[in-house]
């Protein structure tokens, strides 16, 4: 199952139409929400819901138009698969390739990173996060990949610390590195 989710192939046209359909349902609900916003007490001011209703109406009209247009257009002939992964991404008629497991992992790691940034500090949290992202991407034997990932993660942490904390004086949560470097 995970290997199937890693190489999920979705028909582009159907994906587009389903996405737009979901967007339209959400937009319709938000439009109703906008109509419930209180009217203005100021004479002449159209109310807080006026402009959002225009924006949502644009989404509804264009969404429906895009759906009709897509349904009316002919299904393009499926092209042969591209050699390069970026070319495959750029081909707007080819099916959509999606690695759902990777998307899930990236989101999970990011949320965990944000959760641990304060308790662990920038130094440890960033090193762990970078290691988690780098290690599976290094195309070599595991011990070598682990070693390079550790070095890469620590180096990135130091660069981030230098750029954000020392260079830009951004108050990121630190555990043991100093907030300011001074000659005194």
């Amino acid at each position: 199952m995970p290997s199937r989710l890693r190489k999920l192939v979705l028909p582009r046209r159907r994906s587009f139409m389903i996405s737009i359909f979901i967007l339209l349902i959400g937009t319709a609900y938000l439009f109703w929400e906008a109509t419930q916003l209180p009217p203005s007490l100021l004479k002449g001011y159209p109310g807080d819901g006026f402009f959002p209703r225009i924006a949502l109406a644009v989404i509804l009209v264009c969404g429906i138009a895009a759906l009709i247009r897509e349904a009316a257009s002919k299904q393009p002939v499926a092209p042969s698969p591209a050699d390069d992964i970026d070319d495959a991404d750029d081909d707007k008629d080819a099916p959509i390739n999606l690695d759902v497991v990777e998307v899930f992992l990236i989101v999970a790691f990011s949320l965990l990173y944000m959760r641990l940034l304060k308790p662990l500090g920038l130094e440890i949290a960033t090193s762990l996060f970078m290691f988690a992202l780098l290690f599976p991407r290094l195309p070599m034997r595991r011990p070598t990949a682990a070693l390079i990932a550790v070095v890469g993660a620590v180096a990135t942490t130091l660069i981030v610390y230098g750029a954000f904390v020392l260079g830009l004086k951004v108050g990121l949560p630190l555990k043991f590195l100093p907030q300011y470097l001074s000659g005194y």
Partner: protein
């Protein structure tokens, strides 16, 4: 205009100050580096570097960003010429003659033509920017809120019409951007679409939308697509392949003057049009060069100097061209322009017709700054252009995690607020999916920037006219501008229908 000229002296002094020099040198270097990376155009580069401006004063921040923008437009040409990999879509045309010339043994000549053309394009369009921008702003000063609202609608009509495969998708994305801009507290204190979540009360910050929609999809693509890919090694053309006279020739100057003039004018005009941008500018400049050049058309694509100079002049001329509608009218024409406006807004400067009168020193800083930036670009480009070709060989597997950590920490640094990072993650996923299903993401950002301007002008106009929308919309100038917006929409709809009909006919055949 007088205010601008009286500030030239003090601004020239500023250009020699250490913070400005550091901003320009750092901006040019980072711009070339990021521009040379595959997939990173100027807007992605600016979005990624947006957090660096949080602690900078307004004038230094804008100079830094203009340096990044100008250098990124040039940076993409280095890998295009040396390894046949355009850093940005705008350099796709440069590959044709640039790589061919480099292969013939003249890589340095190709790189120098590209650099000098880019710098000249940038300088020419800067002069046009200050003349035309001030003039347009002085006309727009007469506009009331109704006219400014109409102008906003006109900008949105262009943005929706010319981004993406068809206008419905462009307008859909623009609608989404407009809606996102309404979340949170309104100008009159009401809460909209917060669903009792305190983190939504202040709305979605501009920095979140910029990073999520411009840098987010590319970062996710790098992380997801390049997890286990085997990358083909790219080779940079070696010195040994060079010919003895591999240098910029005096005869090139005489031959390229008409090309530079054409490229500068085309680039500035295209840059001033919302929705067009450097890719279209360089493509049109190349096409026009083929048409007007004395050289036989068949020679283009075989490594001729004009084939490099035309697109490179145009894509750098776009930078100052973009500033004309952005600063004079408050209409950002591209993702990069939207980010530039966002920097100004984040520093409390309101773009629009009043800007030229209210902040003459800042406008002069931009004008003089752009000239200095181009001169620094020439200097730094001559020193280390060739070394930058190796940057484009950085593995995308390593690039992905590095870009992603900058995005997360950059967003966090904005207000030290975890909720903003969560917003970036969610909106980046949305943007990534939008790119997958071929809905353009740039209109979301442009509409998000313009949404509050359009809404506040509409509200003010309606309040002045006691809520009578018909009075607002039927004033002569408003009517003309709205007519132009309608014409733009109809034109784009007709051309889109024509193109889909012709593609259907092609499929039948």
């Amino acid at each position: 205009m007088e205010n601008i000229f009286t500030n030239i002296g003090p601004v020239l002094m500023d250009m020699g100050s250490l913070p400005v020099i550091i901003a320009i040198v750092a901006g040019v270097t980072l711009g070339i580096v990021l521009g040379a990376l595959p997939g990173f155009g100027s807007s992605q580069s600016l979005a990624l570097l947006f957090p660096l401006t949080f602690t900078m004063p307004a004038d230094v921040a804008i100079i830094f960003f203009l340096a990044v923008y100008s250098a990124a437009e040039y940076g993409g040409s280095i890998p295009a010429i040396l390894i046949r990999t355009p850093g940005t879509p705008a350099q796709a045309v440069t590959v044709l003659d640039g790589y061919a010339m480099a292969q013939k043994g003249f890589p340095n000549r190709a790189l120098k033509i590209s650099l000098i053309s880019g710098v000249l394009g940038g300088l020419t369009s800067t002069i046009i920017f200050i003349l035309v921008g001030g003039w347009i702003a002085s006309i727009a000063l007469e506009f009331g809120p109704g006219e400014m609202f109409a102008l906003g609608i006109f900008g949105l009509s262009i943005i929706g019409s010319f981004f993406g495969r068809d206008p419905t998708r462009g307008f859909l994305a623009a609608g989404l951007g407009l809606f996102l801009s309404t979340i949170g507290t309104s100008d009159f204190g009401g809460m909209r679409f917060t669903f009792n979540q305190s983190f939504l009360a202040d709305g979605i910050p501009l920095v979140v939308v910029i990073i999520a929609f411009l840098a987010g999809p590319e970062a996710l693509r790098l992380l997801i697509n390049h997890r286990k890919t085997i990358e083909k090694p790219k080779t940079v053309l070696q010195i040994s392949t060079q010919k003895a006279d591999d240098r910029f020739l005096k005869s090139d100057i005489r031959r390229l003057i008409p090309t530079w003039i054409r490229g500068s004018l085309i680039g500035t005009a295209i840059g001033a049009l919302p929705g067009a941008g450097a890719s279209i500018g360089s493509l049109i400049a190349y096409g026009e060069e083929k048409r007007w050049s004395r050289r036989p058309k068949s020679e283009f694509g075989t490594g001729v100097a004009e084939g490099i100079a035309a697109p490179e002049t145009a894509n750098n001329a776009v930078v100052a061209g973009t500033l004309v509608p952005s600063l004079a009218l408050g209409i950002p024409g591209s993702g990069s322009a939207a980010i530039l406006l966002s920097v100004l807004i984040s520093k409390g400067v309101v773009p629009g017709p009043l800007l030229f009168g209210a902040e003459p020193r800042l406008i002069t800083s931009m004008f003089i700054g752009l000239i200095f930036i181009n001169l620094w670009l020439l200097l730094l480009g001559l020193i280390y252009t060739r070394g930058f070709a190796h940057i484009s060989k950085v593995s995308r597997r390593i690039l992905g995690p590095c870009v992603f950590i900058v995005i997360l920490l950059g967003t966090y640094a904005y207000a030290n607020y975890t909720a903003h990072v969560m917003m970036v993650i969610v909106l980046s996923l949305l943007a990534y999916w939008m790119v997958k299903i071929d809905i353009p993401v740039v209109p979301v950002v442009l509409a998000f920037v313009m949404g509050p301007i359009v809404e506040s002008n509409l509200s003010r106009a309606m309040t002045i006219h006691s809520g009578d929308l018909s009075v607002v919309l039927t004033r002569p100038i408003t009517l003309i501008i709205l007519g132009l917006a309608l014409a733009t929409f109809v034109y784009s709809a007709i051309s889109s229908m024509r193109s889909s009909l012709s593609s259907t006919n092609e499929m039948k055949e």
